[in-house]
Amino acid sequence: MNAARPAARPAIVTRVLEQPWLWAYLGALLVWLATITFTQGQGAGEVISAALAFGTFSVIVGIGQMYVITLGPGNVDLSIPATMTFAGAVSMKIMGTQDAMIPLGFLIAIGCGASVGVFNYGLIRLLRIPPIIATLSSSFLFQSAAIAYGRGIKIKPPPILADFATARIAGLPILALVTILFAALMAVVLHRTVYGRSVVAVGQNPRAAHFSGISVDFIRFVTYVLSATLAGICGYFLSGFSGGASLNMGAEFLLASIAVVVIGGTSVAGGYANVSGLWGAALFMFLLVTMLNTFGLGAGVRLVMTGVIIIAVITVAGGKSANS
């Protein structure tokens, strides 16, 4: 929306080229093509379906992380993995594999997440702890709480929840379709509502936001609660998807939540966010690992390649936004 800059190219070409989400989708497409070229077309559809299924969880937490990062320099939520584990463990244990408890369990997961968010912002605002330290330290607390509560056993989900989390329509995961709609909704919230505009304004210039009548503290508070709540919801569905809440289920989502935000074209410095890029980035990240697996590379090479390729994508995509 604010990408309009003077240029000599035709307007439509310029607009498309300037969309920061373009690179994430382009990367995902290239990686997918490389994979199916290698397998000579085998499993092309299955790979996409799997990417959607696994990408869903990165996108859910990525949306929350994106809102937080957009609040401006220094804002990040590192408590996402612990919140997922905590909300997953508590809700699974309370539901105790009974299908009738599913709605209650969902509310409990939301409640767990929201409480973590309130606690996080309490540390940030009242004790004036920088967000990176506040959310990191609270993640130790909630991870320990989950361990104490769940006693280290994998707690199984109710069967209907497990079925829903893994169900597919025409090969496409239902949860992914729901999440696509949710992402679209959150894009509208970001660009068209007073709350979304306020988040972006605070991220660009908090003093100017204050003098424009925006309650900066309230916006930050809501955003941290939103991020933690989405992490709680993600923990709930991930428990259903992977057959139960385990204590390290959130681990990979610390980096994943930040990576999808950055690769998706959101500004790390805040004040500019992009929801559509999250999906492109989540697909890209999953497909990248799949491609390296397909090529039969060892774990070490795979990690190195993942790092290098992510750096490359950010360099190409970030180079354009750097001079805006």
Partner: protein, 488 residues
């Protein structure tokens, strides 16, 4: 014939669709202060950026002494050849101390004890230019008032270690300074020029230019249209060359203002935090109230105090109605740098544009277009980034933001900094019009002329209100007298 330090020859620069500089020829000589005047967007700042090496021209040559330095000319070269610049947007690092900021410009300050030497250098220069400045070498720049930051920035530009400061560019140096400090600076400029230095002075205050400059160059639409000795100019001839007509704004209208107090409702009643006795700030419906006094004596804090307590009624205060603020320090308090002009204007009015919880783009567009015409924002497209505007036009956008909001009480924090004469007249007219419709304005200004637009003036000294002057009893002498009483 004085020795020519720098010669610009046929310099041109284009930003997208905007021709910022067109075939500019200008010389800068030793022992001379060159005044540079023109409207906002006339190209003064761009030209100075070219001279300082921060913008490279599309065409033209830059000669320093006898050397053609056009190729590869940049900040480092300019600095090595003794060209220094004090820009309109301050360039100090807010997180560093005054001494550390001095070191940034002077790499020669190194080795053991550099901090002490840097401190001595900068404080020595401050003492020389601004006696009684009250800045310490260990102060963190971000904690200083904008006036003191400007003083440090100026002193830093004139300070010398291994490289001489031959040509110093002052871009609107007095816009955040009060009249006493501004006079100190201008006197220093004369001494500096007298000792063989060269200086470029950009200012919208034509009196300053006429009294300080030896030669005056006038810019219009990216061209230098006139270069003459300052003695050949009067205020009127300068304004005529710039292409606008100055009106005499000081006509008395005292009778009309008294009735505003009697008939209209009280909107704001407040005292500076910490003051318990003495005059209170009172603002009635439709009134324009000025906050005067030396810069940094609590006027900005007063506005912040009122803004922070809007919608509440703390003991001893009354704020009746929604409040909005026009920032003077654009970069830190005003603009959203990643947003378009339109969105920067509509940000205060989002809530009035909602339909089904969504901000309506059509309403935004309409509001932006209305204000583009009403306040004359010079841009081909309101969807362009806010930073594509010149400083004065950015300020107009901030006015549009505040005046477009549904707020009865408008606070203005010295908002005319770096705004040209013509624009000022337009904005004054809008303020009077809005006041006539019942809005009230609380206007902190560092320019004496602007106080004559106010119905009532409160003079601040040491964070307290020390005088309360109605329009008909206000004179420049009274304001100055109140500002200095304790110091005298």
């Amino acid at each position: 014939m004085p020795e020519i330090l720098v010669r610009l020859d046929g310099v041109e620069k284009r930003f997208g669709a905007v021709q910022a500089l067109l075939d500019v020829e200008l010389t800068f000589s030793r022992g001379e202060c060159l005044g540079l005047v023109g409207h906002n967007g006339a190209g003064k700042s761009t030209l100075m950026n070219v001279l300082a090496g921060t913008v490279s021209p599309d065409n033209g040559r830059i000669n320093i002494g006898a050397d053609d330095l056009t190729r590869g000319y940049d900040v480092t070269v300019a600095h090595r050849r003794g060209i220094r610049c004090v820009f309109q947007e301050l360039s100090l690092c807010p997180n560093l101390t005054v001494a550390e900021n001095a070191r940034v410009l002077h790499p020669a300050l190194k080795g053991f004890g550099w901090r002490r030497r840097a401190g001595e250098l900068i404080i020595g220069k401050l003492d020389e230019v601004f006696p009684g400045h009250g800045v310490r070498a260990g102060d963190v720049v971000g904690d200083l008032s904008i006036a003191r930051r400007q003083m440090v920035e100026i002193a830093r530009a004139f300070s010398v270690t291994d490289v001489a400061a031959d040509l110093v560019i002052l871009d609107e140096p007095t816009s955040s300074l009060d009249s006493v400090v501004a006079a100190q600076l201008l006197a220093f400029v004369r001494r500096y020029v007298g000792s063989g230095g060269s200086c470029v002075l950009i200012s919208h205050l034509l009196g300053e230019i006429l009294s300080t400059a030896d030669r005056i160059a006038v810019m219009v639409d990216g061209k230098v249209v006139d270069v003459r000795a300052a003695t050949d100019h009067s205020r009127d001839s300068l304004v005529a060359t710039m292409g606008s007509v100055a009106k005499d704004e000081r006509q008395a209208n005292g009778a009309a203002t008294e009735s505003k107090r009697v008939d209209n409702a009280l909107k704001v009643r407040a005292r500076p935090a910490g003051q318990t006795l003495g005059p209170e700030l009172l603002v009635h419906r439709g009134e324009i109230v000025g906050l005067a006094g030396l810069a940094g004596h609590g006027q900005t804090e007063m506005l912040g105090h009122i803004y922070a307590n809007r919608g509440r009624a703390p003991a001893g205060m009354q704020i009746d109605g929604p409040v909005t603020l026009v920032a003077g320090d654009r970069q830190t308090d005003g603009i959203f740098p990643l947003w378009s002009i339109a969105r920067n204007i509509t940000v205060c009015s989002m809530r009035e544009m909602l339909r089904y919880l969504l901000v309506q783009s059509q309403s935004e567009k309409t509001m932006a277009e209305d204000w583009r015409q009403r306040i004359g924002i010079r841009t081909p497209d309101m969807n362009n980034n806010i930073l594509s505007l010149s400083g004065g036009n950015q300020q107009k956008a901030l006015f549009a933001r505040a005046l477009g909001a549904e707020a009865d009480i408008v606070l203005m924090d010295d908002p005319m900094r770096g705004v040209d004469v013509g624009t000022k007249q337009e904005v004054y007219a809008i303020i009077r019009e809005e006041a006539a419709r019942g809005r009230c304005f609380i206007w902190y200004t560092t320019e004496m002329d602007e106080l004559f637009h106010c119905d009532h003036v409160y003079v601040f000294r040491n964070r307290e209100i020390v005088a309360d002057l109605a329009r008909h009893e206000m004179t420049e002498e009274k304001v100055l007298h109140s500002s200095f009483e304790a110091a005298a």
